[in-house]
Amino acid sequence: MSLLNATRSELTKQFSTSVWWILLIVLVLYIGGTAGGMGAILAAGETGTLAGASLPAGLGERLPSLVYGLATAMGYVFPLVIGSLLVTGEYRHKTLTPTFLATPRRGVALTAKMLAGVVMGLVFGLAAVGSTVAAGGAMLAVFGVDPQLGRAETWAFVARMVLALILWVLVGIALGTLIRNQIAAVVGILAFTQFVEPIARVGAGLVDGLSDVVRFLPGAASDALAGDSIYAVMGGGPAEPLEWWAGGLVLAGYAVVFALIGYAVSWRRDVV
């Protein structure tokens, strides 16, 4: 009962400020725009419309899923940020005091954030896959490549991506309890997701043995859960990615481990 109330309270928090819809608009424009552009270029290369340009060709069946897969490959930073803001915003605006006064049991308060995070993940996940499928699929169709919207595999792929994006919100929440400073958390997330992990994954392809480790990185786990990603084509993917379910478990594991550590070392601390 009190968990349900606390979850409702968390969702009211999310939807009563502007951050969520601003990030949602940026997500749709950024991910949808990229998917549209990439869909057009790859489809043109595939069908030879752009003769003379050196574009990857022969992707065949994989092409649509590469384009749709941008929802997680590029889009996962959005749910990650939303999740971390869910926690760091409380520290930044000193609202943990009223939050804990209303929900004195800290475990209930954190669980409520996780449940609200699932809802936020669903909203952002649907927006992300919706924009890549709509914009990317349209461009593929324009350039004469089958967008494969009739295939069950495509929709299973889409559903796994939504699941991955929900898990990313939870990872963000857990990170927020560990990195309480909002700016540090967001900068850290951007640095890790946009530079550190991509470089590590591409670099690992060149070093023997490293790819076994790299496939357990959160981004790689997320791609494994989704099923395909642009990294695989760029040669950055591990030789043998995890099974999709194993990828999901690894990603969920990050959320659980970070949350447990955050709860123990930070969330239970005195609020002064």
Binding site: M1, S2, N5, A6, R8, S9, T12, K13, S16, T17, S18, V19, G89, H93, K94, T95, T97, P98, T99, F100, L101, A102, T103, P104, R105, D270, V271, V272
Partner: protein
Amino acid sequence: MTSGQVVEFSAVTKRFGPVSAVDALSGRVEPGTVTGFLGPNGAGKTTTLRILLGLVSATSGSATIGGQRYRDLRHPLQTVGAVLEASSFHPGRSAAAHLRVYAHAAGIPASRVDETLGLVGLGDVAGRKVGGFSLGMRQRLGLAYALLGDPGVLVLDEPTNGLDPEGIRWIRRFLRDLAQEGRTVLVSSHLLAEVQQSVDALMIITRGRLVYQGGIDTVVPPDEIATVVDADDRPALRAALAAAGYPSDERRTGLAVRGADAATVGRIAAAAGIALTALQRKGPAFEEVFLELVSGTRVHPSATAGVPEEAAS
């Protein structure tokens, strides 16, 4: 309305490393009164209140509301309302949305949001973002949050900080009304003048220790209050007082009489047909006593008694 409940501190101690912020503090706050929690800055008032509210965990001892710790309360916001700092708001959220967030968390009907905003005089700005609020408006919104659950116990940490005189008067009257309804009101302050005019009972702490607990009238011990009286015929006055059973001491400014107030002394003199040239009440000023209590040069028995006798009965 939830009725007021007794707030009790039992040997509450909080240590930050080697420093004791709160040291074996015991005390009791009764319903139906405004109790001032007075002490200099850094005396441990805020830490004590945060321990009471479960935000800070005590090193030892316990603080309870109606016999229960805050974290064990079934309906915390409906039991205790707290105003702790004037800045616990997301600037981008409207006043009404801010309250709605916590109304949801506590299972309080959303209709209470407009009600409490009206109660603190913010009804007209319910839809405005808190970021644009003045300090006074934020204090009022903080109070609205405390009143959301119509609690029987109110805990306020320096609620008049930064308020203008108009706002201070308003909040004083408001707290008095709440206490008259039978609620328990505990309000901290570092300003003596602030509580002197607005509270019934006092807990004074310094360096984490309780140094006084009881009514505001007994802070200055009655036996230290003397009436100083003088007449042209001082020996006659002295004799008249002695006859009425009041011995007096000779002082430069007149005779000091203990145990009799100015009216009694005046009547004795009038009955004896003595014209007075001076009549005044003399005793240590409230502030003097307070400073002595705080500095440790004066010790009041209520500090070591733990719970005052009248409360125990």
